[in-house]
């Protein structure tokens, strides 16, 4: 049996029943990586030796009669902007090419507590700035459905690893759609929890008020299992929310009867690929057939979301990325004559074009004389966008929308940068409002996966997990393996 194709919950059962060992499973995943990684390029760093050692430890624990935690002994891939001691954290940037973090991210500590396995670190757009992994300093990841296409991004490596069988579960981070959009492009489940549900401590900050860590998995149940482990308040992250964390797997009931699903009309407008639209219309009909009530709602400020995001996110990024100056760690220009020259040269050479573009954008919108016109205005619009959602949720329990208006596009660098920014129109508002969102496979368009996005109320991951699970269990889209074709 090809263990690398299984879900985490299936593998957990097999480990419990001692049908398999963690070492066998880890070997299966490592062999798969060996076989396909040269095509997919999901990983910046693969650590099979460390993984096997951890697997042997878990096998011994199980042999000694200990009951393994849900993710114990099951190899996962971590986006390379999340700190793990013992592995470098590059953010797919030349700036951090050889950077070894001195501490574990909060989510990593929690996962270590479950004796899980970290098999490697996955590609992202440099510092998570992008939607295709093309801005990675170490070359792009490829979409396992068609290697000529992008896997999406910025968590493209984590999504590609799941789709290609190179990991069982993975973590991504989502600032404007960076978990959901690659999940959509690669036929995975990707969840962005409510802002504050998961600690950001140890996730290299891109835009602090928008970033959120979340799972990318093969099915909804695995997403709930990973979320169970990583969620919860953290004393090291003031923005993590001091609220009870439910057992998200308990929300997974096949039942949407009476559930009110809102369709935000602005998300179905111009720019939506008709084939994607058709897949979503079918999904809506399925929900209706399963007993859900469909209502149309409006999020009137949607058209301002992308521009608002491209003010707030670069503004925060311009400060967050200021620490990469060659002084304490990271890339340093050794020829510079003085400290100020060294800092300038290190940043000029250590950052790629997209990162520098966004730092300049952010610096500009915060500059004296422009702050009110840009940053302050954007913060006001952000409030309006949040209110749009509050208003919509008076009429429905969750929203159903495209994750991306398009399917995966070619990896040829020919996309217009502004057009690519605008493609995030369905995911960005969710980050601006701090709400939970999940992308689940909803069908195919021309043989490529189409993701459906479900958006929930603040802290109501359970409703969207339940709706996602109900849909998923009624279909087989998530069970289709990527063919690794093209090229």
């Amino acid at each position: 049996m090809e263990l690398y194709k299984c879900t985490a919950h299936e593998l957990h059962e097999k480990l419990l029943k001692k049908e398999i060992s963690s070492v066998e499973l880890t070997n299966s995943v490592c062999e798969r990586i060996e076989a396909v990684e040269k095509d997919v390029n999901a990983y910046v760093t693969v650590e099979c030796e460390q993984a096997r050692a951890q697997a042997a430890k878990v096998d011994k624990m199980i042999a000694d009669g200990e009951k393994p935690a849900p993710l114990a002994g099951i190899p996962g891939a971590i986006k390379d902007n999340i700190s793990i001691t013992g592995m470098r954290t590059t953010c797919s940037s030349r700036m951090l090419e050889t950077f070894n973090p001195i501490y574990d991210a909060h989510v990593i500590k929690k996962l270590r507590g479950e004796e899980t396995i970290f098999i490697g670190k996955t590609h992202l757009d440099e510092f998570a700035m992008g939607a295709s992994t093309e801005t990675s300093f170490f070359g792009p990841s490829r979409n396992p459905w068609n290697l000529d296409l992008v896997p999406g991004g910025s968590s493209g490596g984590s999504a590609a690893a799941i789709a290609a069988g190179e990991a069982i579960w993975s973590l991504g981070s989502d600032t404007g759609g960076s978990i959901r959009q690659p999940a959509s492009f690669t036929g995975c489940v990707g969840m962005k929890p409510t802002y504050g549900r998961v600690s950001r401590y140890g996730c290299v900050a891109f835009a602090s008020s928008l970033d959120q860590i979340g799972p990318i998995t093969r099915d909804v149940k695995d997403a709930a299992i990973v979320l169970n482990t990583i969620a919860g308040v953290d004393a090291n992250d003031s923005t993590s929310l001091p609220v009870e964390v439910p057992d998200f797997t308990k929300a997974l009931r096949q039942d949407v009867k009476g559930m009110k699903i809102g369709l935000p009309k602005e998300y179905y407008g111009a720019g939506l690929d008709p084939k994607v639209d058709a897949v979503l219309r079918k999904a809506v009909a399925d929900y209706e057939a399963m007993g859900a009530e469909i209502v149309e709602v409006s999020l009137p400020h949607t058209e301002y979301a992308v521009i608002t995001y491209y003010i707030i996110a670069p503004a925060e990024a311009s400060a967050n990325l200021a620490r990469f100056d060659g002084v304490r760690y990271g890339y340093r220009n050794l020829k510079a004559g003085s400290a100020p020259e060294m800092m300038t040269a290190s940043r000029t050479e250590g950052f790629g074009a997209e990162v520098k573009k966004r730092i300049m954008l952010g610096t500009y919108v915060l500059s004296s004389g422009y702050y009110d016109a840009y940053y302050k205005k954007a913060m006001q619009v952000r409030t309006l966008i949040r209110r749009d959602f509050e208003e919509a949720f008076t009429k429905c329990d969750l929203l159903l929308a495209p994750t991306s208006p398009v399917v995966a596009y070619p990896l040829d660098g020919k996309m217009d940068p502004l057009a690519v920014y605008l493609l995030d129109v369905c995911t960005i508002p969710v980050n601006l409002a701090g709400l939970p969102g999940i992308s689940v496979p909803a069908g195919f368009a021309d043989g490529l996966p189409v993701g459906m996005q479900l958006i929930g109320r603040h802290l109501d991951e359970e409703t969207i997990l339940r709706a996602a699970y109900t849909f998923e269990q009624a279909h087989d889209y998530h069970k289709v393996m990527a063919p690794l074709g093209g090229k």
Binding site: P101, A322, D325, R328, A339
Partner: protein, 479 residues
């Protein structure tokens, strides 16, 4: 033309919390470089700040002690600038909503009381320390950074431009320092950098109501530097204007060795700090109960202590003002005064010989070798006539070396004053017999002869004869 000087001060004070403002590292001064650091204060990727609420508590306490309005809604902002001692290349500070506003301090200069307004107090974090191989960062081949200080909490206290002379600025800073010490929020050690001062200085024609263009003077690390810098800068600006020039708005630094202010950067070169709300921290709400509790726990402040010393200890205004100016001095005074009824005598010694010693040795009262009880006892011995004031100085000098009890020293040194009438009469009679001419002179009305005779007697007694008794007996014998 005559000019009026306008001065406003910005004072940075390190708060003496046990841990840093946004992480749990120690704030202790003087550790080996980069030993009080962690991912947060080193600005490691992914690390996040968490507010130490003691910082807010201390800021509230300071605000209340300075009669400020305490703002209930508090947020932090990022102040962006690149410098290698700033680990994140932004400083977490407060921009448009400081925690305290509209306070004041009453100062006294030349017997006049004047109220100096306080515009605002805000909370922020300190940066690390740089050691350059050369004179400046730009001319150095290498620079070393110590991040132990990075993240230590600071409050910045900004005054109104209400001061009109270096003396007023000094009085304001002294009073502010005293209040910060009394409220126990800061060590206020200027030499260690836990109290730092910048001055905004301008001049305008006397009688004008429109302030001149100001220069901001940095690097004022002592009271003396503050006074000298103000005097230099005022003179520089006046000369510039008199020569037909104009003062430009700029930042200047005080060069203590050269005794002059030097231009650092012009208004055009000034940083654009690009402040925006710190997204990694949540706003802090201060409720009435918190403010009320801090108010109820506020310790006695200098003004109240001064009033108490005048009322209960009978000190005169000037003495009381100077005793309370430094909290540790006031505490020393209180302790010493427990051992004698002559509080005034304690005050005289403290403002005289004790202060002279502290100045000459460049130490603070905390390091003064004589225990307060021993100073009190010494004052008692003087008042009882056991010690003359001249001998007391000898005992004082010896106590500085040994801190032995004055009674013990008096015996050890054989300094006990001779107050035995019989013994003194014997010396007086001997002296009179040896100096008939002086006796005759005295009797002829030459008062100076008396002094000579007293001197002879003191010489014979090796300074130990009670001078009052010597005087009386001499006069009696020559009547």
């Amino acid at each position: 033309m005559k000019y009026t000087t306008v001065i406003g001060l910005e004072v940075h004070s390190e708060l003496k919390t046990k841990s840093k403002a946004f992480c749990s590292c120690s704030t202790e001064f003087g550790g080996a470089p980069n030993t009080h650091v962690c991912p947060v204060c080193l600005g490691m990727p992914g690390a996040l700040p968490v507010l130490n609420r003691q910082v807010v508590e201390f800021a509230i306490r300071t605000g209340l002690a300075l009669d400020c309005e305490i703002k209930k809604f508090n947020k932090f902002d990022r102040k962006n600038y690149f410098y290698p001692d700033l680990s994140k290349n932004y400083q977490i500070s407060q921009f448009d909503k400081p925690i305290c506003e509209q306070g004041h301090i009453d100062i006294e200069v030349d017997g006049n009381t004047k109220r100096i307004g306080i515009t605002r107090i805000h909370m922020e974090e300190d940066a690390g320390k740089l050691v350059h191989s050369g004179a400046t960062i730009k001319s150095s081949d290498s620079s070393a950074v110590d991040y132990n200080r990075a993240g230590v909490p600071l409050i910045e206290i900004v005054s109104e431009p209400d001061m009109r002379s270096s003396a007023e600025a000094r009085a304001y800073l002294a009073k502010l320092k005293a209040i910060l010490e009394y409220t126990d929020v800061s060590d206020c050690k200027m030499q260690e950098g836990s109290l730092r001062c910048d001055a905004n200085i301008s001049v305008m024609p006397e009688g004008s109501s429109e302030f001149g263009t100001r220069a901001e003077i940095k690097n004022l690390n002592s009271f003396r530097a503050l006074e000298r810098a103000i005097e230099y800068e005022v003179q520089r600006q006046i000369e510039l204007i008199e020569d037909g020039g104009t003062v430009v708005q700029e930042t200047r630094t005080w060069d203590d060795a050269k005794g002059m202010t030097l231009s650092m950067r012009s208004k055009e070169e000034a940083h654009d700090y690009r402040y925006f709300p710190e997204p990694d921290l949540v706003p802090v709400e201060i409720d009435d109960a918190w403010i009320a509790r801090v108010k109820s726990e506020l310790p006695e402040l200098p003004a109240a202590r001064k009033a108490r010393l005048m009322k209960e200890k009978g000190l005169v205004d000037y003495d009381a003002e100077n005793i309370v100016a430094v909290k540790a001095m006031a505490e020393y005074f209180d302790e010493a005064a427990k051992h004698t009824d002559d509080a005034k005598g304690i005050a005289n010694w403290m403002l005289g010989d004790v202060s002279a010693y502290l100045n000459s040795e460049n130490v603070t009262i905390e390091d003064f070798p004589i225990a307060p009880a021993n100073l009190g006892e010494m004052v008692n011995l003087i008042n009882k006539g056991v010690l003359s004031s001249k001998l007391a100085k000898k005992v004082f000098a010896e106590m500085l070396k040994t801190n032995k009890e004055p009674k013990v020293l008096v015996k050890e040194l054989g300094l006990e004053q001779i107050s035995d009438e019989g013994a003194i009469v014997k010396i007086v009679e001997e002296t009179l017999a040896e100096n008939p001419q002086s006796v005759a002179d005295y009797k002829a009305g030459k008062d100076r002869a008396l002094g000579f005779l007293v001197g002879q007697i003191m010489k014979k007694s090796r300074g130990k004869a009670n001078p009052e008794m010597v005087n009386n007996l001499l006069k009696e014998k020559m009547r």
